[in-house]
Symmetry: C2
Subunit: 334 residues, 2 copies
């Protein structure tokens, strides 16, 4: 029967006092240590329960072996690309007894700095999909183990994981050319600040097209928001531009699927009138109609590899880079 609300935390000493024993005995009871009388243990446990005692994570962490928390920064859980990465990270972290705190920037570039600031003093290591150089620098400077994913402009000294879309684009474009296509539109993600820069899918596409003897230039690239709707809108642009595309290559599956659906809605036959190819190899791409040809990447592996690299940095190893090679999966859309 408490007389009034008190905000003060209930400590191990409160329990000790109330049970008529010492701190240490309470600790023994709570932590299942052997050197304690079973009867005492029960009594102490009962008192602890009735007082609502919960040991402080922080005080525990101060003394015992510290729990490491891995921060995972993604753009958006709702983007089906990320859950698979998360799955890999979760599994690999679990194997090491780590905890994973997930942060989402909501695909908003301007939020990245804020998220980075939070991450910096709430976790021990970080795996992140980040684009803003300021945010990246912030985490890097904090000195914590850090792996940056899917970013071609990685500052020196930070580890990374990337997907070899140079090889991938060659495969994809080669496949399309083989099928007789000569005019290929690429739907680029307009949200990325590095649009068109070196190593991006955008420039890699142009390079691969040129490599196959196609007169590709910037006019072949159409910007799209990174979503189904974005792909659909971009498809309207392609169709309205008079470009005369017989094939469309999406920055990712989401954009490609959005575009493909819009095309069909507008009476375009797939793949007879226009073929579609995506990137990422989402489960989703297999389920749509027609099933989408795509550059499949092992996203779970990407996550696992990132954790592995973080672990390496913790043991003093230097920085490194993991490269994942996509695999072209040909389906009915092309």
């Amino acid at each position: 029967m408490p007389t009034s609300a008190r905000p003060r935390r209930i400590t191990i000493d409160d329990v000790a006092r109330s049970a008529g024993v010492s701190r240490q005995t309470v600790s023994r009871a709570v932590n299942d240590k052997p050197e304690i009388d079973p009867a005492t243990r029960q009594r102490v446990l009962r008192v602890a329960q009735s007082l609502g005692y919960r040991p402080s994570r922080f005080a525990r962490g101060m003394v015992g072996p510290r729990l490491t928390t891995l921060g995972l920064v993604i753009a958006d859980v709702l983007n089906p690309f990320f859950p698979e990465v998360v799955s890999g990270v979760l599994a690999a972290a679990d194997e090491r007894g780590w905890q994973v705190a997930v942060y989402s920037t909501g695909s908003a570039l301007e939020r990245e700095t804020a998220v980075a600031e939070t991450v910096v003093d709430h976790v021990d290591a970080c795996v992140a999909f980040l684009l803003d150089p300021g945010a990246i620098e912030l985490i890097h400077r904090s000195g914590m183990p850090f792996v940056l994913l899917d970013n071609e402009h990685r500052p020196p000294g930070v580890s990374g994981g990337r997907i070899d879309f140079a090889t991938g684009m060659r495969q994809a474009v080669g496949h399309l050319v083989e099928r007789g296509h000569r005019r290929i539109a690429m739907l680029d993600d307009r949200g990325r600040p590095d649009a068109g820069g070196h190593g991006t899918r955008h420039s890699l596409f142009l390079g691969a097209a040129a490599g196959h003897g196609l007169p590709a230039d910037e006019g072949w690239v159409f910007p799209a928001a990174n979503s189904l709707e974005g792909g659909a809108a971009a498809m309207d642009d392609v169709l309205g531009s008079g470009f005369g595309a017989t094939a469309v290559l999406g920055y990712n599956d989401l954009i490609a699927i959005g575009a493909m659906r819009r095309a069909r809605d507008r009476g375009v036959r797939v793949p007879e009138d226009c073929a579609f190819v995506g990137c990422d190899g989402l489960t989703l791409s297999r389920l749509v109609d027609p099933p989408l040809t795509t550059l499949a990447v092992d996203k779970e592996l990407l996550g696992r590899a990132a954790v592995r690299q973080v672990a390496a940095q913790m043991t003093g190893a230097g920085t490194g880079e993991t490269v994942i090679v996509p695999r072209l999966v040909v389906r009915a859309s092309s």
Copy 2:
């Protein structure tokens, strides 16, 4: 030039000593406090950086305002149902300045206890999809704020969030009956330990069918593993059973979609020969062919509501229950 590797952590005192100032001054420099000379701040910061100093989260948490970490336990990130819930939880937690640690049981009942044990002493509050009574009891007994989601067998004293499938099933079955269907097969999730129990979709389906004058019994229910493949396999059972279903209702969209695809592959026309209805209203359900009729539930809201309840418990409020009513979205599959 360090002489040898030493595992000891670099503390604020190391920095203080090395910079020739006191702890407090280092603290001021690191935390951007005003009462410090800018020149001193720079010098201290430089020393800290060169020593690789990183403040201890635990020591900080001990004294300052404590960061609260919310544990979120889900069955599987790869199941597209969960990312939307996660999204809601992340957003609501962020508004409160909380951190979210995600745990996945991998849909393995036997792992739930282990996860619960971890959760209990690594987080301050918990939102969970859990089925094993032992795991649930473990978390409940720890005394931390706790919200259990999507479980009809919630122990007294724990808050919960559930979906009103009683209403939902009435809508879904009503819709099917209206379309003239008289033999409806239900594909139940065989993975749940409460299969067929009170309040489950299974029994709710039978009740709704009876309510619409259908002679439904256990023979109308076919068990399925909770996945696309599980739905497909169950569809084989339905087709081979001679049950003569003209409509199939899935435990969720995943199962329904798997079944629908298998049916089409075997020459069944949808919806002419057989109609399909799912539950959950995944984004995916809109994308498949034909688009799936489904009982849409606001999963993001479910997550937000759960966090709200956790917050309420923290301020001393009692336990409660959130109920989310699904909405029937009719599409081309029925």
